[in-house]
Symmetry: C2
Subunit: 341 residues, 2 copies
C-alpha cells in the first residue's frame, strides 16, 4: 500500500490478545479496544483464568493461536505500577521462543527484560514496546505534503480524541473513502498496528515525528490523526503544539466534554472554551496549512439525558457553524458528510 512508506513501529497482524488473569474491565481497556476496533485482526484471546475479563474473542491457548496464524501476542492489559504478573511471563517467553512477536504498551519495557530479549534474539521474534518512539525522527520541515489530513484536538485530555478519530476513520472507510487512522498513543498504536507515541518524543522532534506519521499520499486520501493533549493545557500543550505543526491538518474536529468545567487533574484551570481552542488551533495551524478549517465538534455527553444532549449539540452546532456530535451516542456521520463535500 502506498501509505505504508511512512509507517512506524509496524506490528505484524493478526494478533492474539493476552488477558492473563486480569478481571477488571478498566485494566483490560487496551485489549477490549483492539477487539472493538479491529476484530478481524484478532484470532482470539488468551486468558489464564476463567474469571479473567472476556473481550468477546475466541478463547485459545498459545498453541491454538499459533495454529490460527497469530503473528503477534499483544499484552492487552495495563500493568499498574509494576512488573508483568508471573503467570503471564512464561507465556510471553514461550511465544517469543516460538517466533511470535510480542507488543506491549506497559511502562516497563519488555525489550529491556534479559529473559525476553534473549528468547527474541534466539528465535528472531520482535519485541515492540509501543511507548518507545522509533529512532532517527527528524526535525519538522514544514514542507506541504500531498493528501488530506484531519486531526482531532481537544479542550482537554481524556475526552474522546482517540475514539473520535477511530470512529471517523471507520465511518469514512465504510463509505468507501480512502482513509487511514494514524495513532499517536500506545492504545491507538496497538489497535492500528503502527504509529508514534508522540508524547514520548524529545521536544525538538515532535513536529518531525508528526510529519513522519502522515507521509505524502494520493490527493483523495485522508489521514485521520489521533490528537494528544490540548493546546491550552498547563502540562501537555507542547505535545499538542508539535503534533499540530507536523500534522498540517486540512481539517480539525474539536473534542470536548459537556459537563467538564476544569482541566482533569488540574482543578485550578478552567476548561477553555471551544471557540478559544478553535481560534488558537486555526491560527497556529495556518502557519503550515493556510486551508485549515474546523469541520465538527465531538462532545462526550454521557452525563446528559437524551433531550439535554439534543439541545446541547444543537446549540454547539449553531454557535460554531459545524456539525456537533457525540461519537458514541450519535455517531460521527454528520462530520464525515462535511469531509466528503
Amino acid at each position: 500500500m502506498h501509505h505504508n512508506k511512512g509507517m512506524v513501529n509496524a506490528l505484524r497482524k493478526p494478533y492474539v490478545i493476552f488477558v492473563g488473569e486480569e478481571q477488571s474491565p478498566v485494566y483490560t481497556k487496551t485489549g477490549s479496544g483492539i477487539a472493538h476496533w479491529d476484530p478481524s485482526s484478532c484470532v482470539g484471546q488468551i486468558r489464564l483464568s476463567s474469571d479473567a475479563a472476556d473481550l468477546g474473542l475466541p478463547d485459545m491457548s498459545l498453541d491454538e493461536a499459533i495454529a490460527a496464524g497469530a503473528k503477534t501476542l499483544v499484552i492487552g492489559i495495563a500493568v499498574v505500577g509494576g512488573a508483568i504478573p508471573t503467570p503471564m511471563r512464561s507465556v510471553i517467553h514461550e511465544a517469543l521462543s516460538r517466533g511470535v512477536d510480542v507488543a506491549s504498551g506497559t511502562h516497563d519495557r519488555l525489550a529491556d527484560d534479559p529473559e525476553f530479549a534473549g528468547a527474541a534474539a534466539a528465535s528472531g521474534a520482535r519485541i515492540t514496546d509501543v511507548r518507545v518512539p522509533p529512532p532517527g525522527l527528524p526535525v519538522g520541515k514544514g514542507v506541504k505534503r500531498t493528501g488530506k489530513r484531519v486531526l482531532t484536538v481537544g479542550t482537554d485530555c481524556a475526552l474522546g480524541k482517540k475514539y473520535t478519530a477511530l470512529a471517523l476513520a471507520k465511518e469514512m472507510t465504510a463509505r468507501g473513502m480512502d482513509a487511514t487512522f494514524r495513532a499517536t498513543g500506545q492504545t491507538g498504536i496497538l489497535i492500528s498496528g503502527s504509529g508514534v507515541p508522540i508524547d514520548a518524543v524529545v521536544a525538538d522532534f515532535v513536529s518531525g515525528a508528526a510529519e513522519t506519521l502522515s507521509p505524502d499520499a494520493p490527493e483523495t486520501h485522508w489521514d485521520v490523526i489521533e490528537g494528544q493533549g490540548a493546546i491550552l493545557h498547563p502540562g501537555y500543550a507542547a505535545v499538542s503544539m508539535g503534533l499540530l505543526m507536523g500534522s498540517q491538518p486540512d481539517a480539525i474536529v474539536v473534542c470536548t466534554d459537556a459537563t467538564r468545567t476544569t482541566i482533569a487533574g488540574w482543578p485550578d484551570f478552567p476548561l477553555p472554551s471551544i471557540q478559544e481552542v478553535i481560534d488558537l488551533t486555526l491560527r497556529i495551524g495556518s502557519v503550515v496549512n493556510p486551508a485549515i478549517r474546523v469541520v465538527g465538534i465531538s462532545a462526550n455527553t454521557s452525563a446528559l439525558s437524551e433531550s439535554e444532549r439534543e439541545q446541547y449539540l444543537a446549540r454547539l452546532s449553531e454557535e460554531h457553524g459545524v456539525p456537533a456530535v457525540d461519537s458514541v451516542a450519535t455517531g460521527v456521520g454528520p462530520i464525515v458528510d462535511v469531509l466528503q463535500q
Copy 2:
C-alpha cells in the same frame, strides 16, 4: 542560596576553558561566551597550540589550572560532526583522573566514552554532558510560583534570545536587583553553571522541566529565562510552547531581527510579525499567569546603519508601546527600567 533548590545540572566553578587547537572564532563561541559573560568564574584557558583562538583568559597548563583552583574543565569548542580531537583526549583524561570535573556541550556524550567514564569513576570526578536533561523531570503542574519571571521569546530562532536574557540579568544585577539567569540551552548552561537543555526533554515533560528550572523565590527576585525556538516555528514550536507554559512569565521580551524576512533555514515560511508573536504568547501565557505582559523588544539591528537603527527602534517602540533596543548596540537598559517600575 535560596534559589539553588531547583538548580539542575549544577557545575562546579571556577572553570578552566579548554580550547585545544581550535582556531576558528565560530567554533570557540562556547568558550568565548563563558569568558565574556562570567570571566570571574574562569581561572584561565588551556590552548594546545599558539595558533588556537585566544579567549582573553590567562594561558595555563592543566597543572597550573588545578593549582589555581579550577574545579571543572569546560570543553570550550564545538566539535563538528565527530569525535573529540585526539590531542584533547589526553588532557580530558588527565583532568578526570585528577578529580577535575569535565563539562561538555558536544553532541557525543563524554560520559558514554569508556575511557573517560573509567577515569571519572576512579577519581570521583563528574562528567556533565549539558545536552542531556536531568532524570526525573515532572509533568507541568501549573501551580503559581512565588517570585517574578521574565522570558525572552522570538519571531524565530537564532536572533538573540540568549544574549538578551544574559544582558538583562547582568544589567539587573548591576542595578542591585535580585536576578538569576536561567539557562535552557547548552551554551547558557555552561555560562551560568546550571540549567536544563529544554529542547532535549521528552515532550510530556517540557513544561515540567521549565517549572523545575525557575522554582519559588522571594517576591522581589527575578528569574531571567533564556527562550528557545519560536511559538510559530514549523520545527520548534513545541519547545517554545512548553517553555512558555512552565515559565509562567510575568513579563516577556520579544526578540527579532531587523532584516530577516523568512524563518532561518525554513525559507518558505515568512517571519511572523512581532504583534502576532505578542498576541499569541500573551494568550497562551495568560493560562498560567494572567498578569503576563510584554515589557520590551530586543532587535538585532547589526545590518542597519546608526540612523536606520534609531528610526527602526523608535518605530517599534511606538507601534508596541514598550522600549525597543538592540541588546548589543544600545544595551537593554530601557527594558530594565520597565521591569524596575
